[in-house]
Symmetry: C2
């Protein structure tokens, strides 16, 4: 029998996740030890200011400002500081000191992931990051291990709780974007400056991490096509409802072949999209997150849970900690990351999706044929077209022509072909306004 | 560097899952080898009759009837024969020959799981069984590894595709049970003898496996309280819809304390139940499966996917195979099963749930008060009560008294208290019939 000493755990950061991790480690130490086969000793918590007011359950002597000394004495380092520096430098120090690292830092992984994984691989250390790609939702192990004998085709995720809360309010309560955002802010789901959430920056970081994992390919966050939800209107949400859809902010990672160049690669994008109300992602309400995975053999899978929250995310961190600790106890070299396939990352122009286009047109004979002709000329095939005459509009003055609303759903079309079609349509004399252009994902309701 | 030889893989069984596993292993061998760091050589497939007609993609020389000789030459044995014997005996032979084992045999694990896990532990072998507990859905690793630092409180699963298909048809199309079953049979979702599915036996086996895993406790399938869906009526489904619920066959595993004895234990049950249409499990349509997990820190999680199907289940088997192979390559002792907590398995009498009771009563003054009094006498608290007078019923003959329908939803009550209440209610003169008694799980819609 091998004799085990306690494993020495260093924690960097004592914010909402860090303080929960510290508390759970101290409270449930015995239970965790029995699952690992060794004690887990929290040897210190690196913070900027040891005298700052914080959770009184944590003994004050654990706090230190000397992160370097703390890391050098640790077997496992948990980084929960967030941001790029000094997190990056401290993780590299930990790896080079022979420690395994658990991190929940999505901004860092989305920008410097390859550098950190390479550094870990060189010294045989492991980097665990379940908390960085979807809060509490176990997604890393399913993608890395459970689907290791399969081929992932597509990952479609609701990976930002704030935007899902806002869109869910707009759908269920009929709120405008501004109202829903105000409520999200009041309830603490949105920050004072909501830009990172509503403009899709947070979702783009998670999309980069998920794509890297699903396709064994380094995807930098700059390569993610990103659109936020600030321009989603109550009218779009209502019209989606009528057609059996719901509007969701989706992070979509897919393996595809560029039709023009024939290059096989990976495409990653974040944008609002219509999805059938029967799709499992449509049932993701409030601030919940979910990741929908399509694999060649396994078919459709979905992983659902809390995408954020201090306690919830702490669960993912502790799961990683137990894995890291078991690896120390087992003494094996550990399960390495899969070989990077390093497929090229394709531009949004290579992506084909269905689109829903809403137009206001003058209601006179021949307009429908004209518009249909423009779609056809640009090689965009129409799946469904619905016209509603708004003749009853009381705000119309006597001289104005009658108008109609045209809702067109296309078959799959490239971003480029669709953009050209919309440009041509908006130039047409019979078109009063292009009211809305939204991508449609998944099956027709 | 260690020099790797090919890992020798033996397959037992060539049914719908086995033949897909063999095909994928042969077709994608190079890709799998690159993920493992060693070749995966399929050395043979044990079958009862080598001359039986089967998938022509598999070279005939691989088939053998000598399972014993095949197992003795293998590094990893994949058991996909199903049934108890000879599967049990062959898995024990594999373990004692030093092989790791991958199995998808839920009947065997639900009845002889502890014996097999003990045998594996004694010789340091590993037993992988992702395919046994929910087809293609990755649930084992999330429960065992991702939540290793958390405490699972409750697992609620839709773990049988046939019954979910039938109940979904009844909900969406308004079919009767008999019609929906006939369609399921015609489409191949139900077998000629549907007993194992519709009476909940299959779900009970999976519930036993999930409970054992979630609570580190050996739960024999005999200890699972089981009710099927054959008595679910179109009227119940319709009435559930009106109240914002949907009827699902749920496998529920929970950790609880018996109020009478004070004993902390595990309760496992399979029965039809009402669940809010806003609950993520309500969005599980067709023959899909999902497992909803409530953990102390992580909160609510859900895992969704195909619960059956040859190709889908093969994905789970190959994921396990890659894990087993990586362990061989790494050479470490592997990650053991968590220590068994071995909590007692509690009787259904220890469980408290909410109930919906539908009664037909004579419509005369004082009946409501009488019925409410009976609930109160038995300590069952009423959450909501709705009365509909059926005076417009044209089939009522002149002499008959007017009747009314009472739908009562209770607060949490024990199985024992509820049964006593229903017995007393059915004896009451004003009660024409107890139409329906269904458990309610999760929040009110």
């Amino acid at each position: 029998m091998i004799e085990y000493r306690n494993l020495r755990i260093a924690l960097l950061g004592a914010g909402s996740v860090g303080s929960q991790v510290a508390r759970l480690l101290l409270e449930q130490g015995d239970e965790l030890a029995s699952r690992v086969g060794a004690g887990l000793e929290l040897i210190g918590i690196a913070v900027r200011d040891v005298d700052a007011p914080r959770d009184t359950d944590i003994p004050r002597h654990l706090f230190t400002t000397d992160a370097h000394a703390l890391i050098r004495s640790a077997d496992i380092v948990i980084e929960l500081m967030g941001g790029i520096e000094p997190a990056r430098e401290l993780i590299l120090l930990a790896i080079n000191s022979g420690a395994d690292v658990v991190t929940g830092n999505k901004a860092l992984l989305a920008t410097h992931g390859p550098e950190l994984f390479d550094a870990a691989e060189q010294v045989g250390a492991q980097l665990y990051y379940e908390a960085a790609a979807g809060g509490a939702i176990p997604i890393i192990r399913p993608l890395r291990d459970s689907l290791a004998g399969d081929r992932v085709r597509r990952v479609m995720g609701i990976v930002n709780g704030t935007t899902n809360f806002i869109l869910d309010r707009m759908d269920v309560e009929g709120d405008t974007f501004e109202n829903a955002l105000a409520i999200a802010t009041a309830l603490g789901y949105a920050e004072a400056d909501p830009t990172a959430d509503v403009e899709g920056y947070d979702a783009a970081q998670k999309a980069a991490i998920l794509a890297s994992l699903a396709f064994h390919t380094a995807v930098p966050v700059e390569a993610v096509h990103r659109e936020g939800i600030t321009s989603v209107t109550a009218a779009q949400v209502e019209s989606a409802q009528k057609a059996g859809y719901v509007v969701k902010l989706l992070a979509i990672c897919e393996r595809l072949t560029d039709a023009q160049s024939g290059v096989e690669g990976v495409s990653v994008r974040v944008h609002p999209a219509l999805i059938s109300r029967r799709h499992p992602l449509a049932a993701v309400h409030d601030a919940k997150n979910a990741v929908f995975v399509q694999a060649e053999a396994a078919g459709d899978l979905m992983f659902y849970g809390a995408g954020a929250g201090g306690l919830e995310t702490a669960s993912a961190v502790l799961g990683d900690l137990v894995s890291a600790a078991r690896r120390h106890v087992a003494g094996g070299p550990g399960v390495g990351e899969s070989t990077h396939a390093n497929l090229p990352v394709l531009d949004i122009g290579a992506v084909s999706t269905r689109y829903q286009i809403t137009l206001t047109v003058t209601d006179k004979p021949g307009v429908l044929a004209q518009i249909a002709g423009l779609f056809s000329e640009h090689g965009v095939s129409v799946e469904a077209l619905q016209q509603t005459v708004s003749s009853a509009d009381p705000s119309r003055s006597a001289g104005e022509p009658l108008t109609a609303t045209l809702v067109i759903v296309t078959h799959e079309a490239s971003d480029a072909a669709l953009s050209a079609t919309v440009a041509a349509v908006s130039q047409n004399d019979a078109v009063v306004a292009v009211e809305s252009v939204l991508r449609v994902e998944g099956d027709t309701p």
